[in-house]
Symmetry: C2
Subunit: 198 residues, 2 copies
């Protein structure tokens, strides 16, 4: 016996979500079929409400309930500094660091030739437009420390050079609380290169 | 900055799904916010259609588009044999084994004192009622091989004893294709106890 068609349909669609494999999709589907109707309604409502109320900020492309987003409309922020991140989640993470009081720009992804994601698939043009119109003196490239994030940072750094803007990249090294024993070689070599006098 | 309230709501609800942790729930939420509206509609439709079209079979409590389900309404099936499983997914797995031509009964879970799941939370009463009314000669207890499934099988075996029905449990041993080197001790000891003459 195969899975009944409506379950098959659920599995097929849920399987496409990131990090969800075929087994997990089946488990989730059967769980949803067993859930009380009120819980299913809450799940669907939360998705629909989320979609309706969250919009992209026209200034930084963060996801926010307001446009422009609370950060872009905060007059106390330093408008000369721009922190470039891949996703709204990354922006949230950086925004928890109280020391940074500048603005943000969300690329909406990273360059990835293998996945056929080029500069036109992320907001490179919009970033360059911003650099032309706004008075930015420093850009922090806070893309991920993986190969896609690195590629994106290198690519952007070259594009930004002609604007005479200071471009910085997040520092590499041991994560705080990190164990040297378990650090990989590349991280350790970067940590040594970035050593500080005490 | 914290997550905007509508995203927070999504994360809170998605986090409750089985196997989904807080990080995964955040990732799924932001993914859903980024998906094209047509894909979101397909996701919601598949959930709603699944819920509408799948019902519990009154005979075996399998999830099916029809009631009774295709297995219970198949006249060629051996009505004297009953295979007791925990979930509809387990029923699907066993139903792929062509050798078994009897009927099924879905308990809807397993006994788990630690999670406060007792006999009243699964379909023990319905199973006993069935044993009284139907002419069943053998019951295969196909609950999981974990501690909850074992407890449930032992409990059911005791309850079924007075009915004078043959009760069997799935055989234990090495999974086919399994590597002895990686088999755990308990499985190996069961495999030795269940050894067969060649």
């Amino acid at each position: 016996m195969n899975r009944p068609q409506p379950v098959e349909q659920m599995v097929e669609i849920i399987k496409k979500l990131p990090g969800v494999g075929p087994k997990m999709a089946e488990r989730l589907s059967y769980h949803i079929l067993k859930m009380p109707q009120s819980e299913v309604n809450r799940l669907i409502d939360s998705i629909q409400k989320g979609r309706q109320s969250m919009k992209y900020c026209d200034v930084c492309f963060n996801l926010s309930e307001t446009n422009p987003c609370p950060i872009c409309s905060d007059p106390s922020r330093d408008k000369n500094m721009l922190c470039v991140v891949e996703t709204p989640q990354d922006l949230l993470a950086v925004s928890k660091v109280k020391d940074y009081r500048g603005l943000y720009f969300v690329l909406g992804g990273a360059l990835s030739p293998l996945d056929a994601i080029g500069p036109d698939d992320i907001r490179v043009a919009q970033l360059l437009k911003k650099l032309k119109s706004d008075k930015i003196t420093e850009i922090i490239l806070a893309t991920d420390a993986d190969s896609k994030g690195e590629t994106t940072a290198l690519y952007l750094a070259q594009l930004i050079k002609p604007f005479n803007i200071k471009v910085t990249r997040l520092g590499y090294g041991l994560p705080v609380g990190g164990d040297i024993e378990y650090a990989d070689e590349v991280t350790l070599s970067r940590a040594i290169a970035g050593r500080k006098e005490m």
